[in-house]
């Protein structure tokens, strides 16, 4: 039973007592009504261009060969350890494909225990992580991530490199389209994240710098 909150009652009663007010008139009467942007056939081109404008690396690959392409990319960057989700389709595919890949193949590290047991490793010692994305948004070049028990939240945040696998068929026009199509109003997950590029800051003299807290590099594998 929560404690009674007198502040709550006082605040709400003041708000309820406030005079009602007509909603403001349309500042641009007769102007166009806002609608979410539609990109149609240009959807994937836009998705890619916007992500690249935010300094993400975008690669197109087949549903079968993406782990091999990703391995080459990560190996070229000198990545030694890769955090993966062993109980997801993406994670299983990665593990299968890398099982007998030639050197240099980064070591796969499973994120399968509560964060409290693996914090120092996650915070300091992993070079990269691979996750799937629920979908993409063409208009802003955005990845939609819905972390799950199998693919936890910190995977896309702590390692210096984040590789995301997104199915080309899941790229939608806009955030509005995703909210409607996926019926987000029926229930949101513990945490949902929109990612549109690597971590960045312009706090020092408006100079862009990458990787201040989250991943310094974002690699997007568009598959299918």
């Amino acid at each position: 039973m929560p404690e009674p909150q007198p502040a709550r009652e006082r605040i709400l009663s003041r708000l309820r007592a406030a005079p009602a007010r007509a909603l403001p008139a349309d500042p641009a009467p007769g102007g166009p009504v806002w609608a979410p942007p539609v990109h149609g056939d240009a959807r994937l081109t836009r998705f890619r261009a916007m992500l690249e404008a935010s300094r993400a690396e975008v690669h197109e690959a087949g549903a079968e060969d993406w782990p091999e392409i990703l391995r080459t990319i990560l190996a070229a960057k000198g990545v030694g350890s890769v955090l993966y989700a062993p109980n997801t389709a993406t994670g299983r595919r990665l593990a299968e494909a890398w099982a007998d890949a030639p050197a240099p193949t980064p070591a796969l590290v499973a994120y399968d225990r509560p964060v409290e047991q693996v914090k120092p490793m996650l915070v300091e010692r992993i070079d990269a992580a691979v996750t799937a994305a629920l979908g993409g948004i063409a208009h802003t070049g955005t990845l939609v991530l819905w972390p799950t028990p199998e693919e936890p939240r910190l995977m896309s945040l702590l390692p210096p490199i984040h590789a995301v696998v997104v199915d080309r068929g899941t790229v939608a026009d806009s955030l509005s389209a995703v909210i409607t199509a996926e019926r987000w109003t029926d229930g949101m997950p513990t945490n949902a994240v929109l990612v549109s590029g690597p971590s960045k800051t312009a706090d020092i003299e408006q100079t862009l710098a990458y990787g201040v807290h989250g991943p310094k590099e974002l690699i997007v594998m568009v598959i299918g």
């Binding site: 929560p2 909603l23 009504v33 799950t148 939240r153 806009s174 960045k200 706090d203 710098a209």
Partner: protein, 477 residues
């Protein structure tokens, strides 16, 4: 950081800021850059008008139903496992946060950027009770190291150039050499803060939008420190003003677009973090407890005035200050209180009272740039004028400290002006007298000195325009 002074001294501080060429260069460069970036985002006026109308409708519509929506938000959050707390004052909000932390045995707190926590002076309160707080937004981290307050609501250390940051880091971060390389400075902050994130017992953040429909807290950012603060520690406390509620999830896309494009000229921020629940059974990370503190601090009083209520539409994009000729010249610290620039000039006098921030509505030329760029259409100049009136002759009890402004001299001058401008005879006589004797009046004459303190004395024409027109035979003169 000590508690905020209760009296703003805009005039005094502006004088000092105007004489500081480094400060003025830092702001000028930053504001020019931010204006250009925003301008590029809204190059299509048709798209801007449509999107802005949608943004206004979303914010005004949510405010119109604020009490119901707050209850709905509370209900949804409770269903989702987020505990909601209400605070009428900043003292109450500080006490609530401290209680939660103490009950959890938390000693170290990592903070995501939050202007409401600045408004509360939360760090000072927690530090006084033995709880260490570390700011993790790069800009906030820099000013915390320097022992300063934010000078801009989106870019808190905009008043510093990289040489100042370089010197600060070399002095305050162990083992950090002096470098003006921004990548190296950023990397140094990452190294210094990683350990703080890992060892924090709790994370504290603000909230950009709280969606009543789903009970979702939306936080936007570019750095990832907000996500880390709300994901890595076992406890998350979000603090926000009661006005941040959105009715529907569908309101979010247009407002996200308006906010990120207006603030930094980005189509969207790097991260949009939507938090709906604490860690669920089987999940491997995320805080096991999430609290939401709803702060009033005068907002419900502002809400009671139908005109001033528009102040609460604000989504804190800072476009108004980026475009303000006054803010650009005097910088954020001149405003003394947490919120600077045009939005601060209407918000601060209403929250703190006209008796201690009554000069702020006057620190404007009413040029209207702020209203032109405001993505949610707040009529800032109109509200500035309204607050100037409230300071002298209050029409509503909604404004704290109403009627405390003005002076005998001001009242007399206005009375005389009104009299003269409502009587053709007095006007004729007055303008003639000014033409004859005005040049004899010394600049220091009480009343006139208010004008001549920063401007040269006006030259009175020998004949008024009215008289000239009459002489030329205009029939209706």
């Amino acid at each position: 950081m000590s508690a905020e002074p209760r009296q703003s001294d805009f005039t005094g501080k502006a004088r000092i800021a105007l004489d500081d060429p480094k400060l003025r260069a830092n702001f000028r460069r930053a504001m020019d850059g931010l204006m250009a970036k925003r301008g590029a985002q809204f190059a299509d006026p048709v798209e801007w008008a449509a999107l802005r109308a949608r943004g206004i409708a979303a914010r005004a519509g949510s405010l119109a139903r604020l009490p119901e929506l707050l209850e709905q938000l509370e209900r949804r959050c409770a269903e989702n496992g987020i505990q909601v707390h209400w605070a009428e004052t900043t003292q109450e909000a500080n006490a609530i946060v401290l209680d939660i932390l103490q009950a959890a045995g938390a000693r170290r707190v990592i903070k995501g950027k939050s202007m409401v926590s600045e408004e509360m002076h939360l760090n000072a309160h927690l530090n006084a009770h033995g709880i260490a707080t570390m700011e993790s937004d790069l800009g906030e981290y820099i000013i915390q190291l320097a022992g300063e307050a934010p000078s801009h609501i989106v870019m808190p250390c905009i008043h510093k150039n990289k040489a100042e940051v370089a010197a600060l880091f070399a002095d305050r971060i162990p083992g950090q050499p002096y470098t003006e390389d921004v990548d190296q400075l950023t990397a140094a902050a990452r190294r210094a803060l990683r350990g703080a994130f890992a060892s924090a017992d709790a994370g504290i953040s603000g909230v950009n939008f709280a969606v009543a429909e789903t009970g979702t807290l939306v936080l936007i950012e570019n750095e990832g420190n907000g996500r880390l603060s709300t994901t890595l520690p076992p406890l998350h406390i979000a603090v926000t003003g009661i006005e941040k509620v959105l009715e529907r999830l569908d309101d979010l896309p247009p407002l996200l677009s308006l906010l990120s494009r207006s603030a930094t000229g980005q189509p969207i921020t790097t991260y949009v973090n939507m938090i709906t629940k604490p860690r669920q059974p089987g999940e491997l990370d995320g805080p096991t407890a999430v609290h939401l503190v709803l702060l009033d601090n005068g907002r419900s009083r502002v809400y009671c005035d139908p005109e001033l209520r528009d102040t609460l539409r604000c989504i804190r994009c800072a476009a108004c200050m980026n475009h303000c000729p006054v803010y650009t010249r005097v910088g954020g610290h001149t405003y003394t209180f947490t919120y600077p620039g045009p939005i601060g000039k209407i918000l601060t006098p209403q929250i703190e009272g006209l008796d201690c921030a009554g000069e702020q509505p006057h620190a404007s030329s009413l040029c209207g740039a702020c209203a032109e760029v405001c993505p949610v259409g707040i009529p800032i100049p109109q509200l500035l004028v309204r607050l100037r009136q409230e300071a002298v002759s209050p029409t509503s009890t909604a404004v704290k400290g109403g009627g405390t402004g003005g002076s005998l001299m001001e009242t007399l001058i206005w009375r005389a002006t009104t009299l003269m401008f409502t009587s053709p005879r007095l006007y004729g006589a007055g303008s003639r007298l000014m033409g004859w004797f005005g040049h004899l009046a010394p600049a220091w004459l009480p009343g006139l000195d208010r004008w001549t303190r920063t401007r040269s004395k006006p030259k009175f024409a020998a004949k008024s325009l009215h008289r000239l027109a009459k002489e030329r035979g205009y029939p209706d003169a």
